[in-house]
């Protein structure tokens, strides 16, 4: 316990003396007598390092980890391969900063974030990218804030095929700030342009569409962006950064804003803990995203634009993202994305070749797809998969009751033919 109490400034006695106090107890003398805590609250006795480890390992051991099991679960967070160097360097940086240092004062870390910004500009095709946002809820809030400020309108339209997790955050945000939120209907698992036009009306500040969408389907972003722009509405694309190694960029289809979760770029699953999230815009909107951007000054020094400390939160994960992209390189990223694309189609075809599964949509997809189970409830299938050391997909009926007994399956570059074979065999078994 004493190891956690390093006090390098002045000894306690000296500080007490200077303050004219005889003990630290006196500081609390003005707390009303009837509320001052007299009985300790319940806590187990303090644990040393070894015993703490035992307790925590026990908890960790009661989870099934994608490190041991074979994971076919995605829906926004994916089990990708992470080269060793990523965690090595982030651990090294974290240790270097250990001791209360400020990441935003480290030139080296700022340079890494600056380089990540350039990587993300390349991947998204947008002119400016901020990579230090607080998760997707922070990114969505930022996108909404830009559109509301830019247009003066108070309505946002979001597609039904956007990740429900994100839509729920938007709902809370819009309710809190009295913004009207409407939904864009879908046809065959992608946003419909007719529904988009209907939803926008003439008072809409922002349209939000995701591609690949929540179902993994590739949306016709070019057509959708065009319709939004004809209506003088800003168009925000939620993108998956790994897919951008292959797929059309928001810059190419003229999105005004793109946001996304950096997790596929070297982030752990970690029960959904935020990695870095990004927002990209073109120069005309750049002033809205300055807070949290790293700039290079004329003398080659780097500086973080920061109004408050919250923008420094994701600096270490931004560093991990920079290392991941550097380690994979343009070819590695493309190859990983191609493997996701190929493996997903391979699995889809194997599953739908059995009588136990049918396609839900007839659309092109990336890394993830929906199938309908014809014989068994997908929750039962998921339970059964656990017995075989496999983590099955998302049961879609909670958020999309209209799709019935549908299953959202993600297949990353990690999945092998053998794993897919076992997965298909056990998932389609009728018992």
């Amino acid at each position: 316990m004493n190891g956690f109490m390093l006090n390098t400034n002045k000894s306690t006695e000296e500080m007490l003396e200077k303050l004219g106090l005889s003990s630290t107890d006196e500081i609390y003398g003005t707390i009303p007598e009837d509320v001052r805590l007299r009985e300790p609250f319940a806590l187990p006795e303090a644990l040393g390092e070894y015993d703490l480890k035992k307790v925590m390992q026990n908890l960790a051991g009661r989870n099934i980890s994608a490190g041991d099991a074979v994971c076919f679960l995605g829906a926004g967070v994916y089990d990708h391969f992470v080269p060793s160097i990523v965690n090595k360097i982030s651990g090294y940086a974290s240790f270097g900063l250990n001791g209360g240092g400020n990441a935003s004062e480290s030139q080296g870390i700022l340079q890494a974030v600056y380089e990540l910004q350039i990587y993300m500009q390349q991947l998204t095709g947008m002119e400016a990218v901020n990579t230090t946002l607080n998760g997707m809820s922070g990114a969505l809030e930022k996108a909404a804030m830009i559109a509301l400020a830019e247009s003066g309108k108070k309505k946002i339209a979001v597609s039904h095929s956007v990740n429900p997790e994100y839509r729920k955050c938007l709902e809370t945000y819009c309710k809190a700030f009295d913004v009207k939120l409407v939904e864009i209907g879908c046809a065959d698992g992608v946003s419909s342009t007719d529904e988009l036009i209907k939803a926008m009306g003439d008072d809409c500040a922002l349209v939000i569409v995701q591609s690949p969408d929540y179902f993994g389907n590739i949306e016709d972003m070019e057509a959708l962006a065009l319709k939004a722009h004809e209506n003088e509405t800003l168009f925000a694309a939620i993108t998956d950064p790994l897919s951008l190694a292959l797929l059309q960029t928001p810059g190419e289809y003229k999105a005004d804003i793109t946001i996304g979760n950096g997790q596929p770029l070297g982030g752990a699953l970690l029960y959904g803990t935020h990695y870095f999230a990004y927002i990209g815009v073109n120069d005309n909107l750049k002033h809205y995203i300055e807070d949290g951007i790293v700039n290079m000054l004329s003398d080659g020094k780097f500086t973080l634009n920061s109004k408050d400390s919250c923008t420094s939160s994701r600096i270490l994960s931004a560093l991990s993202g920079a290392v991941y992209i550097s380690a994979m390189g343009s070819e590695g990223l493309r190859a990983a994305a191609q493997a996701c694309y190929s493996n997903a189609y391979y699995t889809f075809e194997k599953l739908t070749a059995t009588s136990a599964f049918k396609p839900v949509f007839n659309k092109l997809f990336f890394r993830e797809f929906a199938v309908k189970a014809t014989k068994k409830n997908v929750n039962d299938i998921n339970n059964r998969m656990l017995d075989y050391g496999m983590i099955g997909g998302v049961a879609l009926k909670n958020n999309y009751p209209e799709l019935g007994n549908a299953w959202l399956v993600a297949v990353t570059e990690k999945r092998s033919a053998d794993e897919v074979e076992l997965f298909v065999k056990e998932a389609s078994r009728s018992i």
């Binding site: 007490l16 998760g135 809370t172």
Partner: protein, 346 residues
């Protein structure tokens, strides 16, 4: 100045390794129309070059400060059984993660006199926003058109701007001396008051004010970001607060550097627990933990997934390492340092 990563010479040959899958690559023909037309200009370097680059970048990160080294907490957050848990796993497959968050919530309830905690809000602004959302939802549920939020005279800009954006009006008061006008209280939805070791003299008055506000059905909220100086001495719940929020790293020293954790904790008493963000973690008769979304009065989801789980692993490790006596001793030292720091800067 360090070399930019784009200045390294491209490595000849393959620079990456990918898992061997025995699945053939598929033609891009079907998705041709949707593929990117421009090339992403990213470097192709070998691992040696990448390591050299980042090593040179990080050679100057070492900082000196007065925080303890929390390597063990870091290690705990990197246990494979935690890093490999997907947020959508079935409850059966992540009982350890659920138990951890559930247990931490209970520890904080005991520590601070609250009924329920959530860790979903983001740091810095998330706690305030969620608190305002709950105040708003409570007023609506009571069908009361209350628009005023009382704040202290030194309330920061962020708080004031969020109050305005949420459709409320901020009214500044000195909580150490203010006399409340009972007539005006019918317009007050809530109050946000800070507990600080530099203002311990205010505590007795805050205690009295909280009682009046509660009698008039106003929500009394504690900005508990300075709570690290009071653990073991004072519980906001006993002081009459209905709700409290703080950035976890402000109260528990679990971050290696400022801003590392993206996690605010928000606690409420019984009266407000129905309004808390979903999902809540609950336990059934068979002692199985599960996520409960069935909360009709909830303000909804305030973050994607369940907050900064990594920070929660470190926090529970911290609390277990210190125990009650350690936490209290640390609180005394924090209060002393805060007061001493103030003395030196005056």
């Amino acid at each position: 100045m360090n070399k930019m990563i784009f200045e390294y010479d491209a490595h000849e040959g393959k620079t990456y390794s990918l898992p061997k899958t025995a699945i053939d690559n598929r033609s891009f023909a079907p998705i041709e129309k949707y593929m990117r037309k421009t090339e992403a200009k990213l470097p192709d370097l070998c691992e040696y070059q990448v390591a050299e680059h980042f090593k040179s970048l990080l050679s100057d990160t070492a900082c000196t400060g007065d925080k303890f080294l929390n390597n063990i907490f870091d290690d705990m957050s990197r246990l494979d059984g935690f890093t490999g848990v997907h947020p959508y796993q079935l409850p059966d497959a992540c009982q350890g993660a659920l138990e951890l968050v559930f247990t931490l919530g209970h520890m904080l309830c005991d520590m601070f006199g609250m009924k329920q905690f959530t860790f979903q809000p983001s740091s810095v602004t998330g706690g305030v926003l969620t608190a305002l959302g709950i105040i708003k939802a409570y007023a609506e549920k009571q069908r009361k058109n209350r628009k005023v939020i009382l704040v202290s005279e030194d309330a920061d800009e962020a708080l004031l701007s969020y109050i305005e954006k949420s459709g409320f009006e901020a009214k500044k008061l000195d909580f150490g001396t203010a006399e409340l006008d009972k007539e005006e209280l019918s317009a007050v939805a809530g109050a946000v008051m800070e507990i600080s070791p530099l203002k311990t003299r205010d505590l007795s008055h805050i205690f009295d004010i909280a009682a009046i506000l509660r009698d008039n059905d106003c929500i009394v909220c504690c900005d508990a970001n300075k709570m690290k100086s009071f653990i073991g001495e004072l519980r906001p719940g006993d002081m009459g607060f209905d709700m409290m929020y703080f950035d976890v790293e402000n109260v528990f020293e679990v971050a290696n550097f400022e801003g590392e954790c993206d996690c605010a904790a928000l606690g409420v008493t019984d009266k407000l627990s129905g309004f808390m963000p979903v999902p809540a973690i609950e336990i059934d008769d068979e002692e199985q933990y599960y996520l409960s979304f069935d909360k009709p009065d909830s303000i909804g989801k305030v973050n994607d997934f369940y907050g900064d789980f990594s920070c929660l692993i470190k926090t529970i490790s911290y609390i277990l390492s210190l125990g009650f006596d350690g936490l209290k001793e640390k609180a005394h030292l924090n209060a002393l340092q805060e007061k001493y720091g103030k003395l030196c800067s005056d």
